[in-house]
Point group: D2
Chain length 128, copies 4
């Protein structure tokens, strides 16, 4: 199973704030892109998974912001699965601009059905 | 039928951009708030309408931006229904900060079902 | 010093996602609203502080998501200062819908100047 | 001068709404990406232009939405300059998913300085 991927993301103007920096909430959107791309590389398709009635919901987010990013910066997001539990998935992330680490983070996702009940993660996810 | 309402909206930090202004795309989100509030004042409940399987989708947007807004500005959004068609609804909007008109706009919404097929607007919407 | 405040926030349609829930990144924007309002109640004005050349930047965010929110839900955000350091400020947050706790969180902000150098938090902030 | 460019954009989960579609306000953010990329292909650098004290502000937006987009769709955005005035720039946009035209739009930008005063567009922009 691929359990790590690297994604290039260019900072959009609409993602900056009055301080002139990438607004800190957008990192969570970037991490979501990283998860989509990692899942795709594993041969998965998160959209198809949702259509089948299974969802990953974010239950925990920790972010450490070290340096700011600016409009038009090209960032490298590293996403990896750090822990695989029966119904939960832990990811770790790093956001780099060249050799500068801008942020590191961790999320925990839970697998649920349409009613929000916790479900065992299907094998095609964990087997990749 | 109430066909006009006035809503106070305070500009959020996350809505500003590197120029120091309210980013222009957020006006569309404000107009959506205006429509929700106007509908509520008419006795409607857009969430209940969606749960019943009818949706309003935006088919046209025109915005004229005259002056910028900044973080923490308190804006007054005026929303009114300017035209009522069997399956479409036209709204007009003005965004004011005190006596300064910051933007004016117009949207057209179409009423559709879950499959995206155009539907006659239910009477409880047009009768308010 | 007031070190706690309660803010009502209604979930906007644009803040929901395809799962039908308030997208998890928007909680960070809500916490920012809470900080603005708490600062205002303390007699401060974050916009004026920025104009004077001092900024609070987010250096750490931890969020625990317990239950989802939906479009048009009226949420109560509780924001309090949990720790005051010479150049840093720790806040704690809870997001409630009626008697249901939807999320709890913690952030750490650092006080910096225009060049991003860490600065002692001015007394008018800590004295409220 | 290149006056047209084509940009691929993948719909992010955070850009969808409870209807399951790309929220209509995000198209304005996509158009902004198209302008950045068109400017870059012309040899320009919008970030450097802002640092030199000149800005493009959006003064008019017209969008026609024809069909919805969904999470993970790969869209093709076509951006072209349709009119060049001394202090204003008109762009036209089309958003395609394969052979389906999802939206078409037009914006007008004005060139301003830090004080918001209208400025003649510098030759390096119009000469590309």
């Amino acid at each position: 199973m691929h359990n790590e991927t690297s994604t290039e993301i260019r900072v959009r103007y609409c993602e900056t704030d009055a301080m002139g920096f990438l607004h800190h909430s957008n990192y969570l959107n970037y991490f979501e892109i990283g998860r989509t791309e990692l899942f795709r590389e594993q041969g998965g398709d998160y959209r198809a998974m949702e259509e089948s009635g299974l969802f990953f919901v974010v239950v925990k987010v920790n972010v450490n912001y070290k340096q700011p990013a600016r409009y038009d910066d090209v960032l490298t997001l590293k996403t990896r699965i750090s822990k695989l539990m029966p119904a939960k998935l832990e990811h770790e992330y790093e956001v780099w601009r060249g050799d500068d680490l801008l942020a590191s983070a961790q999320t925990v996702l839970a697998c649920v059905d349409r009613q929000g009940c916790v479900q065992r993660i299907p094998e095609y996810v964990t087997e990749g």
